[in-house]
Amino acid sequence: MYRLGIDVGGTNTDAVIMQGRNVLSGVKASTTEDVTSGVREAMEAAISKADIDRSKITTVMIGTTHFTNAVIERRHVNPVAAIRLGLPATACLPPMVDWPDDLREAVGGHGYLVRGGYEFDGRELAALDLEEIDRIADDINAKRIGAVAITSVFGPINAQMEEEARKRLLTKCPDIPVVLSSEIGRIGLLERESAAVMNASLLQLSARTVEAFADALKSAGLHCPFFITQNDGTLMGAETVKRFPVLTFASGPTNSMRGAAFLTGVRDGIVVDIGGTTTDIGSLQHGFPRQAATVVDIGGVRTNFRMPDVFSIGLGGGSLVRQSGDQVTVGPQSVGYRITREARVFGGDTLTTTDIAVARGEAEVGDRARVADLDPALLEAARAEMTSMLERAIERTRLSPDPVPVIAVGGGSILMPEQIGDLKVMRPENFAVANAVGAAIAQISGEVDRIFSLEKGLTREICLKQAEDEAREKAIRSGAVAETIETIEREDVPLAYLPGNATRIHVKVVGEMGGHDA
């Protein structure tokens, strides 16, 4: 019984074969434009290197930063009509008001405010203005906007108006994909709306990407189920990812941090994962990624997902190095997976951070002769800028003056110096494929989120216990090992103005997938 873990980053696609706690093989390949051939290549190499019978692979787990990179780089994000149902309230802060200007422009900046929405007690804030929805539909058609995100004030307590608005919109825009905020997030209008808009802007990319994964597995003769890792390090099915790509936003960092902890045995430290396009920095506490207490910033936008507290910067092995006058800038644009064609050391003519590292003798890839002509002053300035970017980000993540270890993982970690400030840098064996290892050890979750009625002798404690039992059962049914299950979320929120002392209970448990220690 084997597990195949795959990590699809902006630059590299990595694959590992694991049996129990052992990494049998780990390989890196380049991410390709079509995704499929890169996945295919990495996984074939991993299977042949481990020398195993592929029919004994029971599960494939895939982690990807594809969607996060798209937002950070402002690439492959499609224009979205952001429709908010809430007037006359909310007029002072239109959709995407707290987004960075360039991202708002990348999704088209199409914000629409419509009368509608609910009050906190379920009353209508205003009747839904269906004629305005019709006018917006005309505008969407005229501007050829490809996706819609609908956010109603208090949508999470009543999704009906969002659904009505979608139905009306589809009469004039029959095939347009529509994301409802109530499917994505919790109370907190701007954060939920932003998540819905980003999700809508990524739908085309997610459909293409999931198809590509399925094709790759099928063509390799793997017929076992495949899962994709989500923000909290647990797994979800492929169809869910197609519709909700934002749920993978933090899966890359979660996987690399869990992978780094697994590979080094370090329980408290800082993990720096340098990919081709970005660097993610987060803290390990007791072997788990530290969760963000409040809101999480993705590409400069606040969201209210529960995610590890990770800080991303636009620095990777493929980041562009540019000089104008005395100024040397690094990133955030990157050649990404095209590094093996476009970087100078690989015969291209784009200057990247990898070229700088090779020219300075810090890394040995490609052809060093091709960067021999670079101006030493430029090399010096670029190196200084890269180090200072890393230092600033690590310092930001660092929680105390204690000299905790810094674990460098990811393919771009050749950019990392041996020492950063007063902190020592560790590079575990298989450091380059930590993400894929993290994916392969991803956990199974079980979740219950519904309204319980505290009546007929049912107490809060009995209901919480009941919800926890149900969540455990769900996790076990999905393949979790009972002894490893622990509760990671346990919340009860009393609901006002509902009969029967109603309380909303949310419980989430996670456990190891069966077969890990087989």
Partner: protein, 372 residues
Amino acid sequence: MLDRQDGRWRLDEAMVDALEIGSGILGTGGGGNPYIGKLRVRQALRDGHVMEIIPLESVPDEARIVAMGGIGAPLVSHERIKEGREGLRCVRALEERLGIKVDAIACEEIGGQNSMEPLIAAAMAGLPVVDCDGMGRAFPEMQMTTYAIYGHRSTPSVMCDPHGNVVIFDHAISELWHERMARACVVSQGGASTLASAPMSGEFIKRYAIPHSYSKAISLGNAVLDARREHRDPVEAICESENGEVVFRGKIVDLKRHLAGGFVRGEAIIQGFDTYDGDQASIHIQNEFLIFSRNGEIEVIVPDLIVVLDADSGEAISTEMLRYGQRVAVLALPCHPLLRSPEALDVVGPKGFGFGDIAFKPMDTNDKKGAA
């Protein structure tokens, strides 16, 4: 009337960022998310509005000052964001009702979102904001301001909602009645409205307002930002800035919440770690953090400030952001002396929150920096 230029200052975007952090900390778990308010202030600044703060001492005795703030549930204002001109409508309706011109706006509550509302309304009305407030923190009810405690009658007052409804409370026989009627009205208006109360004289607020609230909240925010920049512990920076003390560090192991009379009441149970390993603490909540106990012994009591922060980043955590498993640091900060008089403690001491059997005892500040 207010024509003195000295001591006035203008708010800029960097100050608003610091104010967001400072007022979040002074919110002691309540008062609403200042982030939304910050965005509104920023939007107003970018639209060209000018926000001027005047020192409390510079206010002429005969000036007419109107205090205002949001009223309702913080959770509602995260979700049903304001229309934007509620505060301005309040000021204009009050002026019309009384046949006067208002000279400046004051803040009811520096803690949380209510720090921002007066700035927005004042900027739109072309008025300055006085550097003071009525709480020095956040409290759940309107009669809990030093204005009300020391004798200001807040009616006639005006309440406005996003729909355009304008309600005038012409006369309330007591501050408690005003609070009760306003509370009933805010529920019917959807749970988050803006309220401006009857003008106070300059002479009155100079005696009874909590001074320097804006400058203090901004410097508290700057202390946190500086600590982060210099990699010092922001939790310690807050204690230094406010003469406070870390009383506990631990992980939240249970949260009980229930609604009672429109307020979320509850209790958070925290299991200690680090030097607090083996100890268990609890915090009683009624919109704000009210009473802190360690192993069953009460240690910090309202109106002294109980602040809950993310144990590592030092970010303030509000009562509704509390989650199972969160790692937190609990801080106690001494309140302003105006809140510790017998007449103030009747309203904002434990008795005012239904803890009749608990007597207020000022927190032990160890006299590290002399008297609080």
